[in-house]
Symmetry: C2
Subunit: 284 residues, 2 copies
Amino acid sequence: MTKKYSYLNGKVVLTEKAKISIHDLGVMRGFGVFDSLRSYDGVPFLLDAHISHFHESARLIGLKPPVGKDEIAGIIKNLVKKNGNPDAAVRMVLTGGESDDTVTYNIETPTFFVTVEKIQTYPPEVYKKGVKIISVENERRIPNAKTTDYILMFSLQKLKREKNAFEIIYFSRGRVLEGSTFNFFIFKGNKLITPRDGVFKGETRNFTLSFAREMFKVEEREALIRELKTADEAFLTSTKREIMPVVKIDSLKIGNGKVGENTKRLMAVFRERVDEFVARNRGL
Amino acid sequence: MTKKYSYLNGKVVLTEKAKISIHDLGVMRGFGVFDSLRSYDGVPFLLDAHISHFHESARLIGLKPPVGKDEIAGIIKNLVKKNGNPDAAVRMVLTGGESDDTVTYNIETPTFFVTVEKIQTYPPEVYKKGVKIISVENERRIPNAKTTDYILMFSLQKLKREKNAFEIIYFSRGRVLEGSTFNFFIFKGNKLITPRDGVFKGETRNFTLSFAREMFKVEEREALIRELKTADEAFLTSTKREIMPVVKIDSLKIGNGKVGENTKRLMAVFRERVDEFVARNRGL
């Protein structure tokens, strides 16, 4: 097995030696934020947007990355190259750092690390046939911050398996929100609707909207659960999944239960735009 | 400074060398449970109850402690002795362990550790005068599990300081619940009321109820926010704070704004019962 490297508090280290104190507030209190992105053919995708959002998440919960945005970009580019995975899953994490009493922390001495792993992708059938998701009531407290609290996700794994679902989407007070790791969209005819409030607006979501606006009428607004019944198509977006069609939610078939034409068009343009991004940013 | 020791995955180690992987799901995903207790004069207080509850918390989120209850008790007793802090804060933590993809985990290879620190107590005035707390709307998703997700607590520290509050209590849909680290009680005359559902029923709460039942009429039930207006006394309980009187909630003065007689009686009996427990369990 080839050696893997991570970045931890100022140093590039062998991943197997990248360790933090058990007194770190990231593990004692789940006090941390993160962001994840992927590289395509060695080029970190939407790198600057992810780093900016990471800084914003940190600010929202009272943390401050110990290094600036440009420096983080440099760390990530170096690590992707060093690990020799052109198609990698990159993750940056910031926690409150060590604390003796599990409450007090120094904003100047957080724990900051970056990991790079081979990306796990999905088989082509998933994109051809679309997936089934199920819904659960939940609303995150600090939706604009990408925090490291995924207890709910883990506690719902059993339900997901039992229901034979690909993923779980959260709703609250009649509104459709997001999944634990994705954003959600529906089409009504040629109108594309996606939630704007109460969700973490991921970079893949924002990137998708940037070209969807050239192709469709886009509404960023509250999406109501009852609108799902009249939706013609649905899909989710995330760093890892890109644009993934959704054909069933609980027992409700979306449209005719097949991947819709508008979604297919967006998926094709997504691919083109990624290629453009990679070509433009190669060697930077 | 004297050397401190912790227990980590099967071994007693120097605390400064007790480290876990950055790939641990405890830090990557905040996927963990814990329990904390204190020792009085070298005797871990309510040890068995805390360990049982810890096992139950683990079960509820899909984890399993790698060692049995008796073995955990032995680890804690040994560590309290070895660290030479007769009055110590003990904390046991269990996480999902290491994961390459930050989702998949093996229930058989979790991370389990125990820390022992000198307990931080509060000045006597706090107990003589009582404290002011403020309220925030929040309801935990898995209230019966003591999970490591304290993002909300950290994000509310600024508000707490601004409002000059000692602690924050959560309410939801008209009901009073609990704080991030304590349970809550009110007296109406000689009737003691404390929430039963939607809260983590801490060991200090249960212990307090055990002797309060001999002294007062006790109701474990939904406590409504509007009942606070007619409450004569209020207090909170936790491992670290024991029984601490509450005399103000937001702008509402509880009773006459002074520590009530019933609360004082409970505090006195609490002290007696702790002494009895310590005498009974010394040397075990």
